[in-house]
């Protein structure tokens, strides 16, 4: 079983990278499951729309995950309950959160559960992701041979702590949110694939996908200002590919993917 995961798609440039490279990646890598984080995929880099969600599916994604920006484009409230393959962090609190935080993909006779969770350190105080992971895993582990977690979190410590906590019980934990890929793709001691941060898919000459000027201005002045998505310059696509053992559901390999001006795609 092979999973292809692509990190936070940001703005038009991110969409362009997905449309250009996702089909190629799928053709070359032949993953059975393709997952894309779309929390910044609107033109303004905040949230997702139904049209963009469909474009990401058409480019080859089986599941789209989200993060802290899930609700920024309020259109999501209109369609999240009517889709099956768009998930938001499972640990948003309350009894009536729109959408869901886990979904399954059928792959021949097997099944992959995809879970989206959000961290809490330096972020909103959602429900405990460790506890929520436990709950969901105990629900889905019987019907699913494989479990993939997109853990959307700020700190390296919370990400590695969750992965280590779940080591041997899930197929993979891959981090998103900080938008810069880390170089620590690895299989933990008990068989879970882990990558602290997969990185973003969007404009390379930017800060988190935003035009650098306004972000720097904010640091210099500490006064409010509008951030705009960077639409110019080269793009980057960040992802990873994970191979799972069909018998154990655990990981055999995890490899980062980086397509950029400096690392042109070679196929």
């Amino acid at each position: 079983m092979r999973i292809l995961f692509v990190g936070d798609v940001v703005g038009n440039k991110g969409q362009e990278m997905v449309q250009t490279y996702l089909p190629q990646l799928k053709r070359d890598l032949k993953p059975q499951a393709t997952i894309v984080n779309g929390e910044n995929s609107t033109a303004v880099g905040r949230g997702i729309s139904q049209a963009i969600y469909k474009k990401i599916l058409q480019a080859g994604a089986d599941v789209v995950t989200l993060g802290n920006h899930a609700w920024d484009n309020r259109e999501i409230y209109d369609f999240i309950n009517s889709t099956d393959k768009l998930i938001r962090p499972a640990n948003f609190p309350g009894d009536h959160v729109p959408g869901k935080g886990v979904t399954s993909i059928r792959i021949n006779s097997a099944s992959l559960a995809v879970i989206n969770l959000q961290g809490r350190v330096f972020m909103n105080t959602l429900d405990d992701p460790f506890q929520k992971a436990e709950e969901i895993i105990s629900e889905v582990e019987k019907q699913n041979n494989f479990i993939f977690i997109d853990f959307h979190a700020e700190t390296t410590s919370e990400k590695r702590a969750l992965a280590t906590y779940l080591d041997g019980r899930v197929s993979a934990v891959v981090g998103t949110h900080t938008h810069v890929q880390t170089s620590d793709a690895q299989i933990l001691n008990d068989g879970t694939a882990f990558l602290t941060e997969v990185g973003m898919t969007g404009p390379a000459n930017s800060i988190l996908g935003m035009k650098s000027g306004a972000v720097i201005e904010r640091f210099l002045t500490q006064r409010p200002g509008r951030f705009e998505v960077e639409d110019n310059g080269p793009g980057i696509l960040s992802g990873c590919v994970i191979d799972l053992d069909d018998n154990t559901g655990l990981a055999k390999a995890i490899k980062p993917i980086l397509i950029s001006k400096e690392h042109p795609y070679m196929g």
Copy 2:
């Protein structure tokens, strides 16, 4: 001009990696300047001692930098003012901060200024690192052909913002503090080498260098507990090597270094 930079040395395992590999790296890479971040280099992973500082110099470092843990081992107050090659973040506030935040290394007829700065997002409210960088650069740029900055900060955005802000005015900005190397080593548009995070040098099977169990316990219980440095298991050394143009002082190349069980040192 070639600079070798090694990220946060954590505990005994970090020291062991430095003693084992720094001499080899220097022999093979032949850097003119070697800089090591030592903010976690005591046996307990907090601060630095004079004995450890000397051991790092003996292994080949020309300058040792620090970070938010600079003052955790109070012995530093006894010796920081009598050394020339140990620097702490320049933007600690006040008129009488022990030590200094910048030093210079003579390399034949040239000179390299090494600056240590600390970020503020999700960290202590030190003086503004952007402003402080400006001040120090204007002081040192005449006497120094090259300027290297160890920017000890939490978020990817603050790190890239400072590097972009200084692009073309300094030789390199390399991030430390989050302990997991990022895969974005690059030369910015105007010639400054940049790497969001160089990563740590210490115990690989750990969370930030600490035993995983206690860190996970803290996440699960939110109650205080003692973190202990992980002394067992394989080690990792994280660093980078940067080549600078002797005429412009700007960067020609930056390459990450990672030595671990998965990436054994090949020389």
Copy 3:
């Protein structure tokens, strides 16, 4: 039904104020229930010990509540499970948290439930206090005529939000943690008594009960330093008295109490 509540007892001076004035207050006000927050009651201002807990009971408290410092003195692990009248914030996460977050006091034929909860804004990410309040209230409201909540939280907004959320369902919500009494004691629209912050009981010439010098030094230098409880100078006792309607369980009156050099106790 009258409740007397006394805010965070800090160090020896706080203990002294409790021993001196709590008996007088009880004699004069004749409360049926007396509750004291003891999270800073050790000599060093962090946590509680069994000896100190007993002294607070002996001075007249029926229940002692805690807060974020609950676990700072590890002795608590030895005795919290064997007492009935010491409670810690109910929303510490996990299945096996020592102690409990709610207790009941028998008052003739009636019963008062005392709940301790902790906020999350700018504090540790405990379980959701709003949700936890719901759970506990639905458990205890049938057996208890009155419900008092000590909500240990940092911000005025989280405190007022919880009180407004529970308005009409509990007898009183009184805030602790910021150590400075607010002047907004009031009965909310649907009958719940509310005071954003009851204030501390300890050394008046201090910052949160600590010696001012070291706290100021921390602000000036942003470097670690030891805070010490202020044992000198005049003391302050902060509290409030709440009158409840025996039929409805809701509030008829809430009045702040402040005993200090400027406001000597008049009886």
Copy 4:
């Protein structure tokens, strides 16, 4: 010398309270200087406009101070440099911050400097308010007999630390920002009047001036939502009156002011 200070005016209800009661307070208390914090004085509770600024002056204010919301209504950029009596926190960073952080009022032969500063704990990382206070005081203390500071900050500790740090060097330090008045009005050991938080002027049945429902909803769901100013229900005016010694410039008395449904104005 008597100063009247009124805390954060929020929305239309705040404006109404100012228009109704400020003239009465001035007539009854006869302050020589009247200062009003207007950071939330627009109809939406964020920032200030020129029209509103003028209305506050017409109601009797001599100086209007601001806080973290200073720049929320971008109209301020158009007029702040052309007014003399509107000040924003002095410690916003950078060389070209519009407006200024200190102003002076002539009172017969004497002069009062009014300084606005903002805290940093749990707030934006402005320049160090302790350091900035030092700088401004050394500039203004010769030409001014009295110095008043509106310290806009979140925590009780930062507020009291600054006041204690400046005790004996300024006439008064009064806190704003948390919108709920504290009951600790006092004269510190060396003569500076201090009140941790003066409180807000606006809609009483609200959370920080905002409609309770949306604020509670945010706590319950952790999802973004629009906060709206509460325009209904009774209003509150929070302030204080400070008497200064004309010879020393230090405080003789400080008394809180609270006008609300529960505390109707008696004159």
